[in-house]
Every structure is written in C-alpha cells, then in structure tokens.
Symmetry: C2
Subunit: 218 residues, 2 copies
C-alpha cells in the first residue's frame, strides 16, 4: 500500500461563452492564497466525502461559481507535478465547459476575456486554457458542440454565427446550412419564427440525434 | 487548504502490440492484493519524491514492466471515484502505449490477448481498455500512430498490414500506398531492400515529419 506522501488532487474548469460575437473565457479573481486577487480558472480540491468522482467535483465547483450546471462539460487533460502549485505536488484534472452568455450575464463575480486576450494566469492555467481552446476549436468543426453555447431555441443565422465565432474562421452560409441540415442535429420548431425587419426566421432546437454522443448533461 | 482525506493517486497503462497480425493488449498477473493473481493493466501509485509528473510515473511503471521506455505513450483519460478501487477513493490517470512485439517477445512476465478477447479485468480496467482501443483506432486512421508498432525499418507491406490490424478493417493497398507517400511521414532508406522470394522490397523509416506531432518520445 501507499507510504509516500499523497499528491494534492484538484479540478480546474475552463468556462467558455460567446459574448459580443467573440469566443470568451470566463475567469474570476481568486479569493484566497496562493495568487489571491489574480484572475484564474474556477477550481477546487476534490472532496472525497462529497464528490462521487472528479467530474462531480468539477460540476460542484462550476455550480458554485455560476449557480447552475454547465450545459456541456468534458474532461480535457490531467496536469500534474511538483512545480505547478506552490502548495505541493499536485494533480489537476482539467475540464472545459460551454455556457450560454444569457445565463451568466448578470453575474458580478465573473469576468470575460476574448480567448485571444486572456491575461497571464497563475499556476499552469495558461497551459490549460491553450489546450482547452485547441480541443474546443478542433472538435467544433465536426460536432454539435457549438450549439451548447446557444439558448435552447435559435435561428439558422444564430447557429452560423456561433460556429464561426467558436471555430474562429468564416464559413460559407449556404454550404454551412446544407451541412448542418444534412447531419440531422437540429430540427425546426413548427410554427415558431423570429419576426423582425427581415422575413420571419425559423427557430430550431437540438434534435435527439445531436444529444449523442454530445449529451446535454443537465 | 485541504482538510478532507486525500484520494489515492495512481497511473495505469494499456500497452498495445501487434502479435500474429492481431492488435493485442499486454497484460500481466497482479503480484499483490487486491485481485492478486488476476490479469490487469500495468499500474502503480504516483511517487511524489521520484516522479516529476504523472507521465513520468507511467514511464517508470512501464519501464519496470518491459525493461525499456515505450516508443509511444499518450495520456488517455482520468478515471476516479470511491468505487473503482477497494483501497479507497482513487484517481487513476490512464495512459496507453504502443510497443513493437519484437521488443517484448521473450518477456515471461507478460501475456498478450487480442483486443477482442481480453478477459474480465479487475478495478475499472475493462473501461480503460475500451476507451484506449477506441482512441487508438480513431487516431490511427489519420496519423502516423501505427508506425510506432513497427521496428525502426519496415517495408510498405509491413506498414499496410500494421494499419489494417490496428484499425481493424481492410485498406486498399494501392490507395493506402498513395496516401502514405503523399503525407511524407515515411522515407525510403537508400539502397536498403528486403530480399526474398518476391522482388526486393524497399525498406522505409519514419521521416522527421512523422515525429511531429506524434513525437517518438524515447
């Protein structure tokens, strides 16, 4: 059995949202040392008497920060070593989550930064963010992932924008529309349209097909 | 700071090889409780005074098992919770590695099982194996990964077989050859041929391009 000192075990979560048409990271200031007052990812120690596994620990930490369960949460990578945290040899199981901006807009304890303008972060949070952005952008191109950044009902235009903003490149509108409809990951909501200056725009929602394998885990 | 009991922190490694033209998992019998005598993955606790991070812990465990560093090692996923190990709430940072069969052929402390015929395994090792096979097969189709299952020098025929065996499906020989050469991940070794019953077969080796991003980490 184990005789060595045990590592510290924590979870850290990179929370993404789309704000002002830009992919942003949600950060908040640390309330305790080390690095008190610095912007950092949401994180915390695993509580073995409370958390059934590290994913539940990440959910607890995120819920504590934003007040509700993240619509999409995925394990990213585990970071570890003697140097990453001044408190000692530690393991951080890192996650990333997608949060629709409308759900956190009034939260005064969080700040958002476009992913290209994230400040220097304590610990190895900069590395965690870089890996999370890479994973999100890589996966966004072949999955329904960006849809989790939208409210439950959205137009084709909303969807096109959110894919462009998540991936970070322009996408031809006509071929995007064709590709999305072909994949059966969204479905029109019968009789439900956005009415405005232009012709009415059909509202869509995620189809049951989009929920596998990218299950909406609320 | 942390007051809760800390989780146990360990690494587990799924070692793959190609034997008798089949993708196989390398297992060995556990030498101590729990599950003493059962076939299981190679694993062990993280030693904070010895390992600089969990990857180095995985390398140490693998080196201890097979006598040398794994030519390819990648972090897979972190498994955790109160139930996965009878010794207590634990975190296992799981890795997978690719090992050319020629390098372990004489090792009497290991056994190989085709990935479709793996016996029931203790802990959550069955889940780890399932995820590792999925990752390896998914990644093999668009990377130089299977090459790490070969010796340093190989023919186009060797390479075609190893891709078929790793991915688990037939691949058209001519288009495979075309695709591989197009990607510049291998290069011919000038003047070096396998001579046999057929016409001489050119030997190849990994090109420097294949080493990024799938770096051969010896």
């Amino acid at each position: 059995m184990e005789t060595d000192p045990k590592p510290l075990v924590m979870v850290d979560a990179a929370l993404f949202t789309i704000r002002n048409q830009q992919l942003c990271l949600i950060l908040s200031r640390r309330k305790e040392p080390p690095f008190e007052g610095a912007f950092a990812l949401s994180g915390g120690f695993v509580h073995v008497q409370e958390d059934s596994d590290t994913e539940m620990a990440a959910r607890r930490v995120i819920r504590h920060k934003i007040g509700f369960d993240a619509p999409y949460l995925e394990q990213l990578f585990t970071f570890s070593g003697a140097a990453r945290d001044p408190r000692g040899w530690s393991v951080s199981i890192a996650y990333y989550a997608l949060i629709p901006w409308a759900l956190v807009e009034g939260n005064s304890s969080i700040s958002t930064f476009p992913v290209e303008e994230v400040p220097a972060l304590p610990f190895d949070h900069g590395q965690i963010v870089a890996k999370a952005v890479e994973r999100l952008r890589g996966k966004a191109t072949y999955s329904s992932l960006p849809i989790f950044l939208l409210p439950a009902e959205f137009t084709m235009n909303d969807l096109h924008q959110i894919y462009e903003q998540t991936i970070g490149t322009r996408l031809d509108k006509a071929s995007f529309r064709h590709k999305i409809l072909e994949q059966d990951i969204i479905e029109p909501i019968t009789g439900h349209f956005r009415v405005g200056a232009h012709r009415p725009a059909q509202f869509y929602r995620l189809s049951s097909k989009a929920l596998t394998p990218f299950e909406r885990k609320i």
